[in-house]
Symmetry: D2
Subunit: 360 residues, 4 copies
């Protein structure tokens, strides 16, 4: 057996742990394990060698962030960017050539680690006859069916740590601090980090916000002798009734101001008369050594993916229920979105703690 591993989309802490588990579990079965460098593009180019994944290659990588295989932002083989003779760019379906290359290299199965986009590509490769097992990855935790996705716990921890730091400086200066975190379509990071770091308001895509309601929370704090406030905003949060954000894409005033965090800070300054600052955590959230939780679920997912290949359980995805892995068909997931449930424990806890969700 010869198994290929691919990491696609944005990097996430835990990818290397998956690669290590796949490699060790595969070698144990006497299989050959190879990695695609920077996504499918490398396989399309016969000059680019596959990465040999042996014991030495994966030593010590569980604790490393990123992916030793690299990842490609524009690596969709069905829409591969190619340059025209006149220098302009277009896209081309190179999937048949990719499938042929898989055959040439003698690859028996593919373990595709990636997000929603990668799973869609995986689904189409399966239709073309490539046996694929999927390992889902999204820092945003917005994948259906699974309790947790790898990278999420680390991202929440980094965001919480940052907000913890911001607390003391906000308190010393009696400021309103707005922290913008990741979460284009779902507010998991904002909600978990905001709760963990005792934020005063948390604005998420699932609940369009009213800034007057947030300003009221800031004023309530003042009245209670708390002269600073911490507002956590998901990048995809939208203003109620407004046209400020559309599907996570900043438009109009927010864009001019440099994003939703800056917009909220500016408007809250006006509404409350308080000194206001904002901070965009951005790429900090996806970097660095994975948390213990992410290392463990990544290792479990990698080991399970190899068992799935062994059993011929293709076109399926590894997910997590509590501490155990489960399998679901890839099509059951693709295109879906796990929003924060408005009646779940996280939202209810936020309300119990008196955190403003911008809808007061």
């Amino acid at each position: 057996m010869k198994i290929a591993v691919n990491t696609g989309g944005g990097d996430a802490p835990g990818l290397n742990a998956v690669i290590r588990a796949v490699t060790l579990a595969g070698l144990r079965r006497g299989w050959q394990i190879v990695g695609l460098r920077n996504g499918y593009r490398s396989l399309l180019d016969p000059a680019t060698p596959l990465v040999t994944l042996d014991r030495k290659a994966v030593r010590g990588i569980t604790m490393q962030g990123g992916t030793i295989l690299g990842t490609a932002n524009r690596g969709n083989p069905f829409e591969m960017p190619v340059q025209r003779p006149d220098g302009t760019w277009t896209t081309e379906d190179q999937s048949d050539r990719l499938v042929a290359r898989f055959r040439e290299e003698g690859i028996d199965a593919l373990i595709a680690i990636g997000g929603d986009g990668s799973m869609k590509i995986a689904g189409r490769l399966i239709e073309k006859g490539i046996p694929v097992v999927g390992v889902p990855k999204t820092i945003d935790n917005d994948l259906p069916e699974t309790d947790f996705t790898l990278g999420f716990d680390t991202a929440v921890s980094i965001a919480t740590d940052a907000i913890d730091r911001i607390q003391t400086t906000a308190e010393s200066h009696e400021r309103v601090m707005v922290v913008e975190v990741m979460g284009r379509y779902a507010g998991w990071i904002a909600l978990h980090a905001g709760l963990s770091a005792s934020a005063d308001a948390i604005l998420i895509p699932e609940i369009p916000f009213d800034l007057e309601s947030v300003a009221a929370k800031v004023r309530e704090n003042e009245a209670n002798g708390r002269h600073h406030s911490i507002i956590v905003v998901a990048e995809g949060a939208v203003e109620r009734g407004g046209k400020v954000m559309v599907q996570g894409k900043a438009v109009g005033q927010a864009e001019q101001l440099g994003g939703i965090g800056a917009y909220v800070a500016s408007r809250l300054g006006t509404l409350t008369g308080k000194e206001t600052r904002h901070l965009v955590l951005g790429h900090l959230q996806r970097g660095g050594s994975p948390s213990t939780f992410d290392r463990l679920i990544s290792l479990k997912c990698g080991a399970e993916a190899v068992r799935m290949v062994e059993e011929g359980a293709f076109n399926q995805l590894v997910i997590l229920k509590g501490q155990e892995t489960r399998r679901v068909p890839i099509p059951q997931i693709a295109g879906g979105m796990k929003k924060v449930p408005l009646d779940g424990d996280a939202i209810c806890t936020a309300r119990e703690l008196g955190v403003s969700l911008g809808d007061g």
Copy 2:
């Protein structure tokens, strides 16, 4: 309504987050919230005032380790230590006086946060007519029914971080390092931290170990050019066929050597001829700021406990399934033990990675 909160048993990161959530959720309902200082003993002594839990008392405590209420190691009201006139000690059932004091103070319900011992006490107080809701706490994660208990993720993270540190010094000196972690009856911490930190062998109470098998792993490493090995041992691990440990209690040679970690290190040195060192993490694992994961589940449990009081759902415990809280009757839990399942993903992943579990 007047609600009392008690924290019992060993401290765990996350206790303060539970206290904060209970307080804020209770105040929001117009209730009065009080805390028992250092367990039930304080209530027995009318001179010791209850701790008033208001907004100010719980400000900023989510991120603090320990418990602001303190905890008592010998605070069982059914077996309260009392000194005889001659200076010797005995125990006395003071539960009736405790119940009377609850009445005197006008306490309508008790939220008891604690481990297995605390839940047993809670069960008996319920029989005496005190309405109790339980919030389970055990760093060891060995409570039945629940996916995670508060404090566990932090303990695993601290242990993982320590083992990560040990890796570089072990590698530089080409040593065998034995790290002893908590886990008297169940090997959750050892297994999770060992996997996360890429240990070579993990010894847990569920799988009696054979040191020759561990030594074989050390020799296999040597043969593979890895000249150091990391062995993680749960404090309750037992030697196969041997009488070294009985139910987590060190006897014989291990005791003389200062615990199971020292024993394993000493014996492995003899068996492999390698330089060997050991480290006991001990109290490090229960101290300090809770992880984001523990903060969040603690806040959720605290908020849910208040809702349970509100709904009169007494004699029940808050547990976690995935990311959501559930309720189970206290008697269903008491005395039970959630061992590491030998066919679960954690054990299977360890085997896939080639980690020795001492039973090879």
Copy 3:
């Protein structure tokens, strides 16, 4: 003796350790220690009570970021903002009233903890007869005479940690990442964090940069098989010959783009054709628990300040040479600026490591 403590200017990790050391060393001498809340303004208002600093008030604060006394951004008693009857604002010299209030409160001496601005105010209060001892504080480390200022080591550590995280994501995506750190007039944080985190280029105010030179470094990396680059930019870095930045104040194009980091990222993207991202660390750098190094120098400075008061060594400042405190007259410092020496070990080391300083 009755001693007042004031913290002025931006907060810095370590302020609370100074306050604790002053308090404990003062109490030990039988003195009374009080703190000004949010700067001099509180003393001007007789309705605002002084903060009593006793043993309990300073318990556990060594490890806390920020300042328990709060700090005021516009608290200069010589130019105190006051509102005119028509609602507009002006400033007023209220220093005589402040001096009178010091007398009324029976304060024998003032320990002023702050930056350059605070030391100027201290100098003028001394002229008006208030005995002052100064403890310098600046995250930027740009104070003359002293080897280190409190808060600097923590800021460098936070920035280093952030850049470490960025490395893995930059490598996975083969991107150029630009990280903007603090340092308006001196490049200490950029240089120390950049070296510690293995940056490829470090741009500081002391060395006007040429972006073509930085782009050449990015291309050199590519040629060496390193497909990502990390550029650290001090907020006060200036483009050579250009008019982009004037004395740390962004003008023109950089301002439009949201600061020097965004400007450098945008231009490098154009010059190199690489995908480029930027991150502004901002307030993250001054928040959170102080590093051990900062805790220790803060405690030493606080203890020494009390000895100076005891000995009547007023109008002086505590500084650090290696591990020991020294005293210098406040006027010797005021208005000075410790730039990064171009022939010092930090710059020379950067050049030895092949780091671009933008002047190649």
Copy 4:
């Protein structure tokens, strides 16, 4: 030019940063840089190849703990362990053969990174004609002349972090916690970590301790309403007038109890009647990623060592005064010991804070 690098003695965070700086600064001059694997022994064995240190070998190692070259505990070429035909061990002077091997390999100079023992060896190699530059390394910070040695700041940070964690559990349980840290002959780590983590008593080799005096501090805490105490003990601390410890070597009762920490804990339990626990930090203190401070001084020392080789400044050592490197002759250091000065700022600050040094 061909330069060899050796790392000797116990590993310390920062060694890899020195190796990286030496390599990059050497390559920049067109030199060849090689490393000895696991100390001098490898060079004695012609079958063991030298480690080629090129750009790729040192990529990303600044942040890694340990040493990529490995280190040998018994690697003194003047007293090299050799096995007799009968299986017993003796030592042999193999220095002439080492010198011959240096010549054979065409090595022009040696950069020796190590502690006191390594510097003594370096001094003797110089006498035999090998040009050596020394880079001192000792976690204990007990090297004369220098303000800081690499690894010390990291060790102090780890110890401080551990004691911070212990604080909350000690407080919750109202216990006395004794933490044993490194420092065989000098109390730098105990003193710096103890001050930073607000210990109640700090016992160091420089000040023989009286346990009754420490017990008095515990009782004073009780009287002040602080029901827990933290005692930090250097491994080389000695009891006053007693014979418990001799030159860092535990004898008598302390040895039976498993070290000085266990001894102090046991005796304090008896003296105060409080529940007492102890923790030995051991190898934790030398593992893991170096602090920013250690990374920076290591890089500076490495770069300076190369300049010294270039200038022919042999038989000298790189030291640090404040932020700048200096050079001192190796013999001026060898055998010396930088004890904690009893009139320095650290000790004086401890006394000002009311910390017991066991001599009250």
